[in-house]
């Protein structure tokens, strides 16, 4: 079965995001004063040829735990289409 998966990797709460802070500073200087915080993360699209959706979800979880995210500082979210 051909599937597409979307993986979102974001910094955990409480982990300082200097990149997000820099982007926020830029937005503020551009007169977007309503922005109170920015967190920069990663978005990955995977094309897969796998078994069932359940099975592939399990394997995607493993991919995230082992490589795609560093769970010391990052959370991940998986969407399968």
């Amino acid at each position: 079965m051909e599937m597409k998966a979307k993986v979102y990797v974001t910094l955990k709460k409480g982990v300082l995001d200097p990149q997000g802070k820099a982007v926020m500073g830029a937005l503020k200087s551009m007169d977007f004063g309503e922005v109170s915080d920015v967190r920069v993360g990663k978005f990955m699209e995977l094309e897969l040829e796998g078994g069932s959706k359940d099975e592939e979800e399990k394997r995607l979880k493993e991919m995230c735990e082992r490589l795609l995210a560093n769970t010391v500082i990052e959370n991940y979210r998986i969407e399968i289409e």
């Binding site: 982990v15 300082l16 200097p18 990149q19 820099a22 490589l67 560093n70 010391v72």
Partner: protein, 246 residues
Amino acid sequence: MKFGIIVFPGSNCDHDCYHVVKHVFGQKAEYIWHKDTGLKGFDCLILPGGFSYGDYLRTGAIARFSPVMNEVVSFADKGGLVLGICNGFQVLTEAGLLPGVLMRNRDLKFICKETSVRVENNRTAFTSSYRQGEPVRIPIAHADGNYYADPDTVKALEDNGRVVFRYSTPSGEATPEANPNGSVNNIAGITNSAGNVLGMMPHPERAAESELGSTDGRGVFESIIHAFSGCCEGHDHHGHGQKTHG
């Protein structure tokens, strides 16, 4: 004593490490390609600085799955000495041999400059040549050196003398101003709980000859050589168990 220097695609301090070990300290040294397996006869493994796999995804994240890393892990598990410098430190954290993670520098810049670090623990195989609390000058060169771990992990590191180097002023004060990259508690180098794996962001191999401005990095190599000769004198120089590999 024989050093093995791991070469990942994108390593760029491998030659510096080789030069220092071989030509400055007169020890045996050999490069180890990241696809090699079945390592034999090494007494210390060095993971050098650089940009392994272009730092793609996260620094060290892909190098950590190089075939040679299984060898590094089992070498370390048997008590072999492993030194990770800069990118090598990042690889060791990704591989789980050291806790925490090296994040983007606080000010988002690549920083290449001489820094002072204080020797926080000189009772390790990597620091016995230094005086306790001694400030030493060793350069840093990184964009991702901002050490982070959760508070429990940091406490465990601090309580057990596993913080080995801390960014400080030239006189040895670990002030916020002396912290170049935002590392928690000014941490510049840590060991694992057994004390046989050290990761450090500063480059001791770049401070091992007076022509380069500082010889303060020599102590790391001297300590390793001393630790080895101390534990293996009279033996066949295979004291760390790696003979059983493969």
